[in-house]
């Protein structure tokens, strides 16, 4: 009989974990359900801010190769029609004529995003600097 009473005392001294367990399980389920695992890759297409107005433009601007993509996603390099896949090869040929030239990618706002990414990616892969401009009219 005395032993039975001691057992009762032991049980009372044990902390009842059940409510805490319930809360922990609810939290666990909440965090599992709301977990979002992001696996994103991206290209840096941000442009440097335009130079301040009061600064005069450089008198001897370096030669530039201009790629224009119109609203129908037709590509041209220095006003010469080209297939969009052939733009990079054409730029490389032009670079032989104009060493150190910078590349300007000029896009009509309605051109397809895919072409911009392809050209930018190709130029980045060849280590060429390029500038992206979005303009309405043919330059």
């Amino acid at each position: 009989m005395r032993r039975a009473r001691r057992r009762n005392n032991d049980d009372e001294a044990d902390v009842d974990m059940t409510p805490m367990l319930d809360i922990v399980f609810i939290m666990l389920i909440f965090f599992i359900v709301t977990a979002v695992f992001l696996d994103e890759t991206g290209l840096d297409m941000t442009q440097p801010p335009p130079p301040p107005e009061d600064q005069p433009p450089p008198t001897n601007p370096p030669p530039a190769i201009t790629v224009y993509v119109d609203e129908n996603s037709q590509c041209s390099v220095d006003s010469l029609r080209s297939t969009c896949g052939g733009v990079l090869a054409r730029i490389e040929r032009q670079l032989a004529d104009k060493p150190g030239a910078s590349v300007i990618l000029r896009f009509h706002p309605d051109a397809k995003h895919n072409i911009l990414v392809q050209l930018k990616d190709g130029l980045d892969g060849r280590g060429m600097q390029s500038k992206i401009e979005v303009v309405k009219d043919t330059a």
């Binding site: 965090f31 979002v36 994103e40 397809k112 995003h113």
Partner: protein, 131 residues
């Protein structure tokens, strides 16, 4: 007396030991708390352009542009002219935010670069999402 003590012993033997499961549950809980990012997903997964020079990017603001050049933020479509206050609010929620623009291959360049320009105005580092 003898019978009593035997039943008590049997009771103890059938009681499950919860401690190892509790340890696992706690570790899981801590893992999910630590890895949880509360991002507002755009609500659609556009077919992004493929690129070879892209790098991994951990954004906290996600914006999607679909092929009809609607801008999707937090599962709602907007036009490019409407999103400035929304982006400002998102930026103020997480001041050190990074953003990604997930644009469809057929989206307009004007829309994508317009959204990027807005982000740059707001001082948010932005990348354009690729596959």
């Amino acid at each position: 007396m003898a019978r009593r003590s035997r039943t008590v012993l049997e009771d103890e033997g059938t009681e499950l030991n919860m401690t190892p499961m509790l340890d696992v549950v706690f570790i899981l809980l801590i893992f999910f708390i630590v890895t949880s990012v509360f991002v507002k997903t755009p609500g659609l997964e556009p077919l992004k352009p493929e690129a070879t020079t892209d790098v991994a990017w951990n954004p906290t603001i996600l914006v999607a542009v679909d092929s009809a050049s609607n801008v999707w933020i937090d599962k709602r479509p907007y036009k490019i002219g409407e999103i400035r206050p929304i982006l400002t609010a998102l930026r103020d929620e997480t001041p050190k935010a990074n953003a990604i623009i997930q644009a469809d291959r057929d989206a307009d360049v004007g829309t994508v670069m317009g959204v990027q320009e807005l982000f740059q105005d707001l001082g948010v580092t932005t990348r354009v999402g690729t596959e």
